[in-house]
Symmetry: C3
Subunit: 139 residues, 3 copies
């Protein structure tokens, strides 16, 4: 498939594998602290791991939309590079949160910055495309 933005697809698959890895880390934390499903409380470290993962779950579709908007309508390499930075940001976030609640913040801000940057660039590309396709305005 020559038309698919393959770099964005590659980074999408990498982020998915990272999400699977985070899920697994929550499972290990369950075992380490002997917290049986369906319980989601019982030890502060497990609770932080659980919440860190939940936050990643909430964020993930939003990140994908921002990366794909930028990748399809603005620039594929910028979108893919942003996605790689997001992966680093989420790793910092996850590891930080498990150590101490406030240590989630540096990675959190990295992810938020990537999300808004890619959304903004994607929005520029989408508005240009709408002007072009429906109003015959070329920028």
């Amino acid at each position: 498939n020559m038309d698919a933005p393959v770099l964005v697809c590659a980074v999408t698959l990498l982020t998915t594998l990272q999400m699977a890895y985070f899920t697994r880390r929550v499972g290990y934390s369950r075992l380490a602290h002997k917290i049986k499903p369906p319980a989601t409380t019982g030890h502060p470290e497990f609770e932080r791991a659980f919440r860190a993962h939940q936050n990643c779950v909430e964020f993930y579709p939003l990140f994908l939309v921002s990366m794909w908007s930028c990748g399809v309508f603005f620039s594929e390499p910028i979108a893919a590079a942003g996605g790689l930075v997001f992966i680093v940001g989420r790793l910092l976030y996850f590891n930080g949160y498990i150590r101490e609640t406030h240590k989630r913040l540096p990675g959190f801000w990295v992810s938020v910055a990537v999300f808004f940057s890619l959304s903004f660039l994607g929005m520029i590309g989408i508005v240009q495309e709408i002007l072009h396709k429906y109003f015959y305005i070329y920028s």
Copy 2:
């Protein structure tokens, strides 16, 4: 990218920004009621805001699939218009839920109606496309 359904892409990005806004509102509710992460309980209003957001998180990928199915296989303007109605429905849902649990229902039913309508139209388009592509049947 002339082939991408740009109206559906635009509405997808808008729904993502709405989801980011809901996330932020939960964060504000945390601050207002002094509930520190990773806790997710402690004040009824925060608990309603938290659950309203969780429901949006659960619903979001399902909505995206319904809007894209309709947009790619049935009608792009109908899909995009349905997406805008969904945005209004989710705002009613979120604001209603925070005020009182049962006030979430009008917005809930709006979102559910959009989801099933777009899924149904998308399914018609997908079945026609499968008949056409694999069975050489034209409707």
Copy 3:
């Protein structure tokens, strides 16, 4: 739209309807055990239904990425068939979890096997495509 992988689109829409069905089953479990939202605890069976659904919510975007990676870059019929197996796996998982916590495991391993298989095949296709598109290497 002749170019969209319509079999993968059809299975995507089916998985979304399955997710809507799981959401509804959690709602029925709320009613059966008289647990009013926003509460998410109160009866072991409801708590298992709730957690089974949450796990499906977490898994869903990851599954979609794996199926689409395989469908676009490796083989559309294999991806769609994998998706149908995933649907069966999730049904086993959900029904098993509600009966007893450890009965979630057979369906869980089916879903995980589908996820990793489709991700692996997708990754092969993506690497070949990158070698081809950016390094002019044909395999």
